[in-house]
Subunit: 370 residues, 3 copies
């Protein structure tokens, strides 16, 4: 049983959708740390430790006075840097009186916080999810709380053969489970590419291409899953008329997707605790971008699909909890997930006090199992 | 505090009533082991470990394809022997890919499984509960889940003086608490016999003998409780006209019960976990066997009585959990329960790795205390 | 982290309001000990351990027969001294068969029990709460169960600056948080006295003095908080016309409160478990004592105020549980609570087996923190 932490602390984690954070106190837990978020009068978001220095009452139970948080028990006030600015019945403030303030960046419609060393909190490290606010793309998303280790969600997204068995009525069919795929990786990212040529589109995609391109018939379908450590998975998905050129002809060729429909499933899964996560997702498309009705329909449609995953993932977590020493075997389909796990493990390892390196079992070559 | 297991593994345990198991996946836990049961097209019942070899998802969340179970996550399929017959996206199946299959016997209206060593699973060891499907007897039963150690239910059944205090409005009266009893035992069974002669019948039995024999008046009442390890208790109960010859006149005499009414309370209490159990019971009678209305009425009447026990047993379990080191004292009335416990302990002991024998405190003679 | 007990055992604890205890079995937990209370035919209250000697079933699940408790499982009976007087099916009673009986005193409308050494249970040690049944005072109260260490309630009551932040709509205003106070202590009691002269009355008190004295205007307000170990806090509160002489002119002067309204907030907070408590309170006043409507209104009004505290206290307990090693800092306002804690610690210490004395950190001078 691996007892090292399940997530690195030196990383940006989505703590909220932009619209969730108003001039009001929003409690949230990220990487086992309780935070209170609020938007200041100037628009900037502040993120403080959600526990008063004095008696630990959650600050989120207090109230805002201007851009300061006032504790709901004895009235201690804190500014957005976490420094105490008022104590009842005394004029001298104890200089140690402060709560932790977290680095915050708002980008691509998410509020990101950095739970690790603030000196390393480089905004350039926020993962690219630009489709989520790029005017060439339209879409929307949600946040759901799932009672499982965030890595189970990553595993789930890195292998889409499960679509055939979990999502048979919408996006899955046997073609996904049967098509070959290619898994590659870089220093901080892993990619799984699967092309299914000249197939029947599953119900969801058949509907999209008929609606957007007025096309009915065989399609070429793609799923290009890109993981970026520790917990972001952006998936380039779509279908095009079979044989219309969407399939790349070789390295570097991007293919011609003009006779197709293209979407991005954007996912970033923030560990809330060791066994729960905040799963932020959005679905963005580059067709019919002006149709608000379609945006609404797709958001709810994807939400339904993800609820099927939620059910499976929470059952899987319970099963793992009951058998903590189970030695997992990997199939060929787990190649992408194994690379993602290996990259997460490396990020975690780099944060641990130095000790002799032990090779990580989970990182065995894909399909070999043990 | 005794920390050895509370149940033997080498035994048949009722996992379900026959009618519960259809061509569908039924999850159930027996002796801390999660199983999925299903009836195959030929009628035979299969019992598999309820966790996919690959990612542990409960197989009961999947679906049947013919007589094979398909996992609801990645589609791995297993036959009724637990061998994996399909993996997505790969042709070679890992030879280690299997889940545990349990020996199953269907007998006396129960589906019995053997959680221990399959080599020892002799169908002849299924306890005799033939009254449950003997045409000379009529009856019906239920399964209830009780949040207590199964042995507390055994204790409860082995001493029926509690009827006077727990079931005063139906089957209990002071006569039960006052009548003498005889406790005997064999290698694997223990018996408590109590005759109450020339007494007023309690409300339940007064009603039965009036209905079946049109008799009102004093009765001779019997309770012959027979425990068979580890968890089956069949109770021969009834009343007859006082003095009509039902009371045996000596060893070997079975008495003449022709002027009486006779029932069997059949109980088999399967440990689900260490602190919960699946309590299967039935009430079979040999009078008015064609009256469907009476069968229905008795089933619900007994169910109400057992609900009173359930309430007491769960409170007792909570009290024991709060005082795990309490040294229990035994009364005379506990003689039968003490024999049952001793026989269970022996079955458990036989399965433990050899170690020096220590005399078991609970096995002190009845009424002596500890 | 301090692991010594959080409460002394040699003390009187309120277990119930007088009216709660009838000729019926009332289960209650005090200092982690489960009790069953009942009023005997002569009016005296009995308090027994709530677990049958035989199989631990809570006696409170049984029934009274005269002044004896009969267990609801096998019918063992106990008298009010806890001695077993009946066992089923046997004539000789095991002499060890008894349950613990607790010393009981009924006083000032509460039923007090002594969970420690009975030899030390001196009725003279019951804390003075006579306002609760003194005909010169009128009032009423309630008991609420709060999911926190009882000492958090004591802390809460010893510092009323929290009124400004928790109870702003009723009894709190900035004056409380700003007024100076004096903290003194004796061997077993600690007192915090705060006078707020010539202030605007908060809504609650403005209403009371207008109703009782037909007065509208500035007031002198007092809060005299008196803690008596381990868990009783009586608070002398009120307002009088500003400058009418209520403020004492020096040591020994009691002031002239004739132009004011005076109440006592009576609180005794019984530890139920280490992290839950039974909070008994009453509000008694010496004005308009015949107005039943006012009694009702005040009881419900105070109940609403205490619900605000309950919310804060339970959140504080959860926060402490999550950070068991947090080193708390004290503010000036904590002086009274610190004395109360020190007195509790001394009572607990006296009951511990002797060991080398270690100075208690929490007892550092007020406002110094660490």
């Amino acid at each position: 049983m691996n007892t090292s932490p399940s997530f690195p602390l030196n990383a940006w984690y989505a703590a909220a959708y932009d619209v969730e954070v108003k001039h009001a106190l929003l409690p949230r837990t990220v990487c086992n740390q309780k935070l209170v978020l609020y938007r200041q009068s100037g628009g900037e978001v502040a993120a403080l430790e959600d526990a008063c220095w004095h008696r630990l009452l959650p600050l989120s139970m207090g109230r805002l006075e201007g851009d300061e948080v006032v504790c709901g028990y004895h009235g201690l006030a804190y500014n957005s840097q976490g420094r105490c600015t008022f104590m009842p019945s005394q004029e001298t403030l104890n200089p140690s009186a402060c709560v932790r303030a977290y680095p915050v960046v708002e980008k691509h419609r998410f509020v990101w916080i950095w739970p690790g060393d603030p000196a390393k909190a480089d905004p350039a490290l926020v993962p690219d999810m630009h489709w989520n606010d790029d005017p060439a793309w339209a879409g929307d998303g949600k946040m759901i709380r799932v009672a499982c280790d965030y890595r189970l969600v990553v595993d789930n997204l890195m292998d889409l053969t499960h679509e055939a068995f979990v999502h048979g009525s919408s996006i899955g069919n046997r073609a996904v489970a049967e098509a070959p795929f290619v898994a590659t990786h870089g220093d901080r990212s892993a990619t799984v590419t699967r092309w299914m040529e000249n197939i029947d589109a599953p119900p969801f995609w058949a509907g999209q291409i008929r609606h957007a391109r007025d096309y009915v018939g065989k399609v070429d379908r793609w799923q290009i899953i890109r993981f970026e450590g520790p917990c972001t998975v952006n998936i380039d998905v779509g279908v095009a008329e079979a044989g219309s050129g969407a399939v790349p002809k070789g390295q570097g060729d991007k293919g011609d997707r003009s006779r197709g429909v293209n979407g991005y499933v954007l996912n970033t899964i923030t560990p809330e605790t060791d066994k729960t996560c905040l799963y932020f997702w959005a679905f963005a498309r580059n067709y019919c971008t002006g149709e608000q009705r379609l945006t609404h329909e797709l958001r709810e449609g994807v939400a339904n699909i993800f609820r099927e995953d939620e059910h499976v993932l929470e059952a899987q977590q319970r099963a793992i909890d009951e058998r903590p020493d189970y030695a997992f075997y990997n199939l060929n389909i787990d190649a992408g997930a194994m690379w993602a796990r290996r990259l997460i493990d490396r990020m975690v390892e780099r944060e641990q006090p130095k000790r002799p390196t032990i090779p990580i079992q989970a990182a065995a070559p894909a399909g070999v199992g043990r």
